[in-house]
């Protein structure tokens, strides 16, 4: 390492290499592309959140008196599409992954920098199609696009929305492809597989799903679009098409997709828990194999979304037992994080608070997922608010918590600035409280029998719905805070030290923010991964 960099904020870094709009829009620097993604997905998140606010506002009263049912259906559909395809799937991989993978493996960039930029543009184009669907009146099929409603009956703007999802799919595929090649081919000398941070492992596993799963949903969505436009008869029951086949093809991707959303989060949590416990992750190899196991097993369980769809009972049984298997590696991860904290030196910095929140909420979400995978329970709670609660626990309580943990952890690396400690801890607390208030009542609602995608509901469900709506307001405030103080910090925050957390890992060996080519000199790795010990300060020469 050159001496000059360890003193702090470098005058020459990737942010200062040109400040024109063009220098951003034509950049091939993975760090800048990560920042571009961060901006775009934030917009989509706020938009999706706005629709969530609409949903909760409507559901505060049972009569369905705020908006027309058509409008409500468009709200939850746009909410689901925006949140899943345009926020959560790209959230961690495309922002933090893009920014950190080359840094953590000691590379100058990803393997295909121009493809990386192209992926962002594809993402934006896909987003434009979705916005087109939105401004022209929205879609009302639910994010799942079930046929034959989506093909023959909906009179909303399915076509642009379907194309939007199709196009974004390729952004996701190409990002995954880029990461796999990067991780295989661009590692610094000495950096063998079992010296890789778990963040890298989980992105590797995620990328596999992106490359092998996404194309299937892409072609399926295209078929839906063609069936609408050219009257091809592929899922249309009147020519013998089977709507359940659509569901198979859809969930073949969309179940693994939930692991696209959570695995990178698990990677972040592993980094954060290790750093803030100042300890090597307990059971490192088990953790590495667990993400691979989740990614692979995740492809065998999609039928658990279809237990009551008239799928064969035998198929359902097989999917159910495989669902149980995929829970095991997740259990291994949860227990290992907990064990890492044992005997650690645990600090209560903001990222760690989010990480602790993640562990608890993901566990609840995951265990209720196991309940859903149990056929005897799913028959009652399928398509009720129990499912809604489950997936918000894993996606909002899990994945978004992890995303926020990651943003707070690597913010000094990305921006080179500090953020206000008090506000950031307060936000973590508000998010945690608001989240539980919003979504815990939904478990109860679900078992009572309140179906999802209901614009109006019988009166006996109102009390719990009001609680949920109240919680959503708190949660909204909790999310707004980081948006505000991080923006403030980016422009006006105090410059921070190169390695404010005392973390190990190649990304902390370079300046914060890093120079355009990441390292003045490509490091050679000799030490172990997560080597936290007082004696050896630097294991990277």
């Amino acid at each position: 390492m050159s001496e000059a960099t360890s003193t702090g904020y470098p005058e020459e870094n990737y942010l200062t290499q040109g400040s024109t709009l063009k220098s951003w829009l034509l950049t091939t620097d993975h760090k800048r592309i990560g920042v571009l993604y961060l901006l775009t997905i934030s917009v989509f998140f706020l938009l999706g959140g706005l629709f969530a606010a609409g949903i909760r506002l409507e559901l505060a009263t049972p009569q369905g008196d705020l908006v027309q049912p058509e409008t409500y259906n468009r709200m939850f559909t746009m909410h689901g599409i925006l949140m899943i395809f345009f926020f959560l799937i790209p959230s961690i991989p495309a922002t933090l992954g893009n920014f950190l993978i080359p840094l953590q493996i000691g590379a100058k960039d990803v393997a295909f920098p121009r493809l990386n930029l192209a992926s962002w543009y594809i993402f934006v184009i896909g987003g434009c199609f979705t916005l087109w669907a939105l401004v022209s009146g929205g879609v009302d099929t639910g994010w799942t696009f079930y046929t034959p409603f989506s093909t023959l009956f909906s009179n909303s703007h399915v076509l642009p929305a379907a194309l939007g999802v199709f196009i974004t799919g390729f952004s996701s595929i190409l990002t995954g492809l880029n990461f796999i090649v990067t991780i295989h081919r661009m590692r610094a000398p000495g950096l063998t597989w079992f010296k890789l941070p778990l963040f890298i492992w989980s992105h590797y596993a995620t990328s596999l799903i992106q490359v092998l799963g996404t194309p299937v949903v892409a072609i399926t969505i295209v078929l839906v679009a063609f069936e609408r436009v050219f009257h091809l008869g592929i899922f249309d029951p009147s020519v013998g098409g089977d709507p359940v086949l659509f569901q198979h093809l859809f969930w073949f991707y969309s179940h693994p997709a939930v692991y696209i959303m959570i695995l990178p989060g698990m990677g972040v949590i592993s980094e954060v828990v290790a750093t803030f416990s100042r300890k090597r992750i307990f059971g490192y190899k088990f953790m590495a194999f667990a993400v691979l196991a989740i990614a692979v097993l995740g492809f065998f369980v999609w039928g658990h979304h279809m237990f009551v769809s008239t799928q064969s009972v035998y198929a359902g049984t097989v999917f159910s037992v495989l669902t149980m298997l995929v829970a095991i590696p997740s259990a291994v991860k949860v227990f290992n994080w907990t064990a890492t904290m044992y005997n650690g030196a645990v600090s209560w910095d903001t990222p760690m608070l989010y990480a602790i929140g993640f562990i608890g909420l993901f566990t609840i979400g995951g265990l209720t997922g196991v309940m859903l995978g149990t056929m005897g329970i799913d028959i009652h709670v399928h398509d009720t608010y129990f499912v809604v609660a489950h997936f918000h626990y894993v996606m909002v309580g899990g994945a978004i918590m992890a995303f926020l943990a990651g943003i707070h952890y690597w913010w000094p690396k990305i921006a080179g600035k500090t953020y206000p400690v008090f506000w950031s801890k307060l936000a973590a607390l508000i998010v945690f409280i608001g989240f539980n208030l919003t979504f815990f009542p939904q478990f109860l609602l679900g078992y009572m029998g309140m179906p999802r995608r209901y614009h109006a509901y019988p009166e006996e469900f109102q009390v719990l719905n009001v609680l949920s709506s109240a919680g959503a307001t708190v949660l909204g405030v909790g999310y707004l805070l980081p948006v505000i103080y991080l923006t403030y910090s980016f422009f006006f925050g105090a410059r921070c030290a190169q390695n404010p957390w005392g973390a190990v890992g190649l990304e902390w060996e370079t300046t914060s923010p890093p120079p355009t080519l990441n390292f003045d000199e490509i490091p050679t790795v000799t030490g172990e991964v997560y080597d936290y010990s007082p004696k050896k300060e630097a294991q990277v020469v």
Partner: protein, 100 residues
């Protein structure tokens, strides 16, 4: 630099094999072998595809990693087909279009 360069003759042989297999598959299509019809047609297609992958696409000389990726594509497709098929083959309520 370790690129394997195959001689032209290999490629020509591969080409002739493929044409031969194509002729065979067309020819046998007109005979009824019962349930073996599909097996034969797909078997020959697989044979042709394998030849293309191994020789034209050089997988025979590629690294294990490339072999793995190529294999993964196929295996994942098999997962998709097999599990979906599993549902259809074990349904007890049969697929009937009721008159409405």
């Amino acid at each position: 630099m370790s690129v394997h360069v195959s001689p032209t003759s290999t490629y020509v042989k591969v080409f002739l094999t493929l044409i031969l297999l194509t002729a065979t598959t067309v020819w046998v299509a007109f005979y009824d072998f019962g349930i073996l019809n599909n097996v034969i047609a797909l078997g020959i297609a697989f044979a042709k595809a394998t030849v293309v992958v191994l020789f034209f696409m050089h997988v025979k000389w590629s690294s294990p990693l490339i072999k793995l990726i190529a294999g993964a594509g196929v295996v994942w497709l098999v997962i998709l087909i097999l599990f979906t098929l599993g549902d259809y083959l074990t349904r007890t309520i049969h697929y009937t279009a009721p008159p409405i």
